[in-house]
């Protein structure tokens, strides 16, 4: 998991560090910078996998703007690089590795922008690699002296003690292999920000072509068809938090279309059975089914599929959902994230979503995002304490009554 994310000079975030849990929910007023945090993580993923093209950034859900608008433009912040640092945790151990990414842009013209990772000069890279080695040497619980000596021997064997060897060391291709950068890349390299959209979920619009499922819910049927039977059975039961739902069918031949259950241009092969209607006439296609069930199914699929990112972002998880359903969905997301080893950064504007969180579980974290006096986006983690009997208020009520912050003050 990613345990710490430091964001410098990215949009409204001048310099801020967030300590993450497994499921991280961000609340705050519109424009406070919640989505910018998710975007920064998407930039980390793009940089680690050398996929910083504008198209790739769009495909990850980043709201790409001209470089000067992607960087912070507060007074006195002329820095040309976005700096992102993230630390990952090794399994269940306390050890972590830190990677710093410096991202800059080359601007030919308004239509010709190239983002790239600035790894610095050979000397700078070498210094970083040596610092990394030194850090690892201080963690005998993870890397014994034998490990380090082995790494050095490997280096010496593969590269004669020449300038080239030093450059290889500097680039970290040996030192980092399997331990730092690559491990981080495997964790967060495919991070994307998912944001459900009714037309995409209904199979009527394709904006994102990510596989197996687009960031707006495109090809949800394909993602579901790829689930293992036991996972699918669990998902179906969980989706029944939508009270009328009896069954969901993926119809690969789209046979049901020819029985008149789908009249339009939907590409989705998902069909839903309503338990209150007679079996002969209780089928709805993704094209005409209630919107809420599609959103629930989309979000649950993100957390059970092996093909979706291990670490992912969800913008506005509450869209189109009844308050009670928001709570149910959040609770299920927390359960599924633990079960399927996923990590999530989630934004919401619906207080009911918070009622699905258990803040006494350190892996479920709630952050209030706000702009400080200078307009910089910062966060504050909300921690829970025991409440006296009779005084208990739900988190949703605490938010609405102003105890959490994250609401406009211009009253």
């Amino acid at each position: 998991m990613i345990r710490e994310l430091t964001i410098k000079n990215y949009k409204s975030i001048l310099d801020h560090t967030i300590e993450l849990g497994r499921v991280n929910v961000f609340i705050g007023e519109n424009g406070c910078g919640k989505t910018n945090i998710l975007e920064a993580m998407a930039m980390v993923g793009a940089a680690l996998t050398d996929k910083l093209s504008v198209e790739e950034l769009f495909n990850r859900g980043i709201r790409v703007a001209k470089p000067s608008s992607m960087r912070s433009s507060f007074p006195g912040t002329p820095d040309q690089e976005i700096v992102l640092q993230c630390s990952s945790q090794l399994g269940t151990s306390e050890a972590s590795f830190r990677e710093e990414l410096r991202i800059a842009a080359e601007e030919g013209s308004a239509a010709d922008v190239k983002w790239y990772e600035n790894r610095g000069s050979d000397e700078e890279q070498m210094a970083r690699a040596v610092r990394s080695l030194a850090t690892w040497m201080q963690r005998p619980d993870i890397f014994t002296t034998e490990h380090i000596e082995d790494i050095v021997r490997t280096l010496m064997a593969r590269f004669p003690p020449s300038e080239k060897a030093l450059h290889e060391l500097a680039r970290g291709s040996i030192l980092r292999g399997g331990m730092g950068r690559e491990q981080l890349g495997a964790l967060v390299g495919d991070f994307a920000i998912y944001n459900a959209n009714a037309l995409a979920l209904r199979g009527l619009q394709t904006v994102s072509r990510r596989s197996p499922m687009g960031i707006h819910g495109e090809t949800l049927d394909v993602a579901i068809a790829g689930l293992k039977p036991d996972v699918w059975a669990d998902l179906l039961e969980r989706a029944k938090c939508v009270s009328w739902l009896e069954d969901i069918v993926v119809d690969p031949t789209d046979h049901l279309k020819y029985q008149g259950h789908k009249l339009g241009k939907s590409q989705s092969t998902l069909y839903f059975h309503d338990k209150h209607m007679p079996p002969a006439n209780n089928v709805f296609s993704a094209e005409n089914v209630n919107e809420g069930v599609l959103h629930v199914l989309f979000h649950l699929t993100l957390f059970v599929s092996e093909s979706t990112p291990r670490i992912l972002g969800i913008d506005n998880v509450d869209t189109a959902l009844n308050p009670q359903l928001c709570r149910d969905l959040m609770k299920q997301i927390c359960e599924l994230a633990a079960k399927h080893d996923k990590q999530a950064l989630i934004t919401t504007h619906n207080p009911a979503t918070l009622d699905g969180l258990n803040l006494h579980d350190d892996e479920q974290r709630l952050f209030v995002v706000y702009r400080n006096d200078e307009g910089h986006t910062v966060t504050k983690r909300i921690k829970a304490k025991a409440q006296p009997e009779g005084q208990k208020l739900k988190l949703s009520e605490l938010w609405m009554r102003g105890h959490l912050g994250g609401i406009p003050r211009n009253f």
């Binding site: 803040l359 706000y370 400080n372 409440q387 208020l393 009554r401 105890h403 211009n410």
Partner: protein, 226 residues
């Protein structure tokens, strides 16, 4: 740290929030407005006149009933907390407020009056949680504190601080700015006027121009007066 404020009016909330920034470095997100209520829905707002949502009577009622104060203190959020009670002394003699004023010629007029009001508030609270309560007692009105930003004189000497403040604004602001200012809501007006309080050094300078402001600012760094 989170600070909950019980105040007479929305403008008072803004003034106190700016002072808290200057003295303790607290952002708005660290400050919570307990009274006047701003979490009422529009139906309730319609039912309740603006005048009824503020005033010393409301402050007293909250101190006596303590419903929202307890909710703030005892809710599930784990943070260090402080409760701030703001009240003016302009109506301190009224029935129910029941403060005996010291003589106007008393050199310690403001300090004595403040002490009596603090004791009164603590009595309303029946001593509950007073160790984490601080008292923003403006002698005689919060406008006297605001005036410290615009006047180098001791602002306690102004007979009618509200009127004086309006005069100062009319004089200090160009027509266009003044028009815009008076179109703002009460909270926004007070927030903009008292922005200079958000800088510590400036706040210290202004506090020297009004004893009740000085006593309040200093109390923020001290143990409770309970």
């Amino acid at each position: 740290m989170r600070v909950g404020i019980v105040a007479e009016g929305r403008g008072d909330l803004a003034v106190i929030a700016n002072i808290l920034k200057g003295k303790l470095g607290l952002d708005f997100e660290d400050v919570q407005f307990i009274r006047p209520e701003y979490d009422m829905d529009e139906t309730d707002v319609h039912d309740q006149a603006e005048a009824l949502r503020g005033g010393w009577g409301r402050v007293k009622r909250e101190c006596v009933e303590r419903g929202r104060i307890r909710e703030f203190v005892e809710n599930a959020i784990d943070d260090e907390i402080l409760v701030l009670i703001q009240i003016d002394t302009a109506e301190a003699h009224e029935k129910g407020y029941d403060i005996e004023r010291p003589g106007r010629d008393d050199p310690d007029y403001a300090a004595v009056l403040r002490r009596r009001v603090v004791e009164k508030i603590n009595a309303w609270l029946e001593g509950e949680g007073v160790e984490r309560v601080r008292h923003a007692v403006a002698v005689e009105e919060t406008e006297a504190w605001v005036l410290t930003i615009f006047s180098a004189k001791d602002t306690a000497t102004f007979g009618d601080p509200k009127k004086k403040l309006n005069e100062v604004i009319n004089k200090a602001m160009p027509d266009k700015e003044r028009k815009r200012h008076f179109q703002l809501k009460e909270y926004a007006q007070a927030h903009e006027l008292t922005r200079p309080f958000r800088k510590r050094r400036e706040l210290e300078k202004f506090a020297d121009r009004n004893l009740s402001l000085r006593l309040f600012v200093d109390s923020l760094g001290e143990p409770g007066e309970g």
